[in-house]
């Protein structure tokens, strides 16, 4: 029942006086203001550091821009070069895809394996957890430097040890065939943070599930497949997603390894062909993008590379998320 004053057209709800309606609207308005305030940093940040660059990248990808003069519109020329003529693109794409397809499953499997082993050690869990987590803490540059030294084909400790065993060690970072596997080894060394998550998940599997499976006569392998694996599948999804995201951005280790392994002193080392050493085997897509955009200052072309990367990243993310429902089991309510 409305009271008194001729009110604005409002639905007559039984029991709601105008005062209460006004108070409700005021509360809603105050809440919106609050949300706006709380979200304001993100709104500004998103517009400036995400929205604006995406739009501008798209625009720049149709221009020739070297930062010395204003952008010059050249239409699809960059894309034609990107998808047709540039001979460096396909090695870059291949390397990045290789990294994702090979390194991510290896890292996840390795992390699960170690987590299972550590979970078994009842008393030393803390120590082992520390041992495996420590390398993941090492700054990537430091870890890469260390590995390039350790895997030096001539005098690195690894090849020296192998020589004592009578094996001629491979050329590691100096060989185009072994450079990426060397990077994968480096990645496996740093698998600690994923391993800890798996460890927590494995330890979290309810004991009674294991027991009932054992009663049913299931061996350890079967138990793993039927009990453990489904329970940790959300973590597997998480690890795969993280791995793929990191694979698409893979830069630091490749850049540092290529520079150090090619052994050029800075004096005459203005040579961009260092990146991807040896023979473009470590030329990943983000590295090539950096080279084109910030060594050659071909910013228009680099923007077109960025657009391609964006499309691929979105596609991969969607594919993973859509397929996740199929084989991820959530215990109880979804997290």
């Amino acid at each position: 029942m409305s009271s008194g004053l001729a009110a604005a057209p409002e639905v007559e709800l039984p029991g709601l006086t105008l005062e209460r309606r006004r108070a409700k609207r005021k509360a809603a308005w105050r809440r919106r203001r609050l949300v706006l305030l709380l979200m304001s940093p993100w709104i500004v940040g998103f517009s400036v550091f995400f929205g604006y660059p995406l739009v501008t990248s798209a625009y720049l990808s149709f221009t020739h821009y070297d930062l010395l003069s204003s952008p010059r519109w050249i239409g699809l020329s960059n894309y034609r070069y990107l998808l047709g003529t540039d001979q460096q693109i396909w090695p870059a794409v291949y390397n990045t895809l290789w990294m994702i397809v090979v390194a991510v499953p290896l890292q996840v499997a390795f992390a699960i394996g170690i987590a299972l082993m550590v979970a078994r050690a009842r008393r030393g869990v803390g120590i082992f957890r520390t041992i495996f987590y420590l390398p993941a803490l090492a700054p990537p540059v430091a870890a890469t430097l260390g590995f390039v030294y350790i895997l030096n084909p001539a005098n690195g400790p690894v090849n020296i040890l192998l020589k004592h065993l009578g094996i001629d060690g491979p050329l590691w970072f100096q060989s185009p065939g072994w450079a990426k596997p060397s990077l994968v080894l480096l990645g496996l060394w740093g698998v600690g943070n994923i391993m800890i998550i798996f460890l927590a998940a494995v330890l979290d599997v309810p004991e009674h599930l294991h027991e009932s499976a054992q009663l049913d006569g299931a061996g350890p392998l079967r138990r793993f497949r039927a009990v453990t694996l489904p329970s940790i599948s959300p973590v597997i999804l998480f690890a795969v997603v993280i791995g793929v995201i990191q694979g698409l951005q893979y830069f630091t280790q490749a850049y540092v390894a290529a520079n150090i392994a090619s052994g050029q002193a800075s004096q005459s080392a203005d040579i961009t062909s260092n990146l991807g050493y040896p023979e473009q085997s470590t030329l990943f897509y983000p590295v090539l993008l950096y080279q084109n955009g910030f060594r050659n200052f071909e910013m228009g072309y680099a923007s077109s590379m960025a657009m391609l990367l964006l499309v691929v990243a979105l596609a991969v993310t969607v594919v993973i998320l859509v397929n996740s429902r199929r084989w991820v089991h959530y215990r109880g309510t979804a997290s």
């Binding site: 809440r31 949300v35 709380l38 979200m39 940093p41 993100w42 940040g45 550091f49 995400f50 660059p53 995406l54 501008t56 990248s57 930062l67 170690i114 082993m117 550590v118 050690a121 082992f128 420590l134 390398p135 803490l137 090492a138 700054p139 990537p140 540059v141 430091a142 870890a143 430097l145 260390g146 030294y149 350790i150 400790p157 020296i160 060394w189 800890i196 998550i197 927590a200 998940a201 979290d204 973590v235 998480f238 995201i245 698409l248 830069f251 630091t252 540092v256 150090i260 800075s266 983000p286 950096y290 955009g293 910030f294 960025a306 990367l309 964006l310 990243a313 979105l314 993310t317 997290s335």
Partner: protein, 295 residues
Amino acid sequence: MSSTSVPLTMPFVKRKPPASVRRRRFLIAVANHSLLIAVSIAFLAPFFFITLTALMTDNQALSAALWPHPFRWSNFLDVFHKAPIWRWTLNTMMYAGLATLGLLLSSIPVAYALSRLRWRGRDAVFLVVLIALMLPPQVSVVPLYVMWAKLHLVGTLWPLIVPNWLGDAFSIFLLRQFFLTIPEEYLDAARVDGCGELRILGTVVLRLAKPAIAAVALFSFLYTFNDFFLPLLYTGENPHNWVLSIGLSEFRSLHQVQWNLTMAATLLVMAPVIVLFFLAQRAFVEGVTLTGVKG
């Protein structure tokens, strides 16, 4: 039996089994976990080799020798003479410290708004946050560089610090996941007491979310400490503002190094993080678990 807290069932007095039995049990344990131990040794080996090389002379480092002869502890001091490690450390601390601070200040309110307040478009915005999380930074890097260049800030640390003061997708995501787990009863109780939403955020939520906030602070500090790509981009050509990761990567070419000094420098750069880990072990592990299990 006295009436104090002595339990009715007396604890079983464990007598230590004889040494030979203990040794046998230990050996069995080792055999049981032989693979684990082998992999652990493999994991520790790189640290071991790096340390050994850091203690060698330059000629030894280049040769096939595995053990330093003599032990040159002075290498660690030499590193400080060869390169401006202190300045790099200062730059790194400034970047990591200011970025982490800003990140916390800006991400907590956003995470709260995305989790405990109901408003139209909330889930859409969260989806956008997720998407921003997944996209490689290389996608947006060219126009941002142009923008900072036009502002004459390329070569300084500001392009690295400022974005963190305007929210960080990963922290927002983590904090939001954690805030979701806070039982509504606590918040309702505070609301009933007449607290405004901001007050609730500042007192109740912050106190309850301390472990999550600590974890986020720790991770963002770690992430910015280890960051390489963005510092390379913005300060790569200005050695005065190099951070540790850039400095270390350039260390080899700075003074025609000398693997022994490079390995010493590598250890020095790894050290703060490892020390931090041992000091804040619990926060680390809890935080990592938080990311994975709640993620």
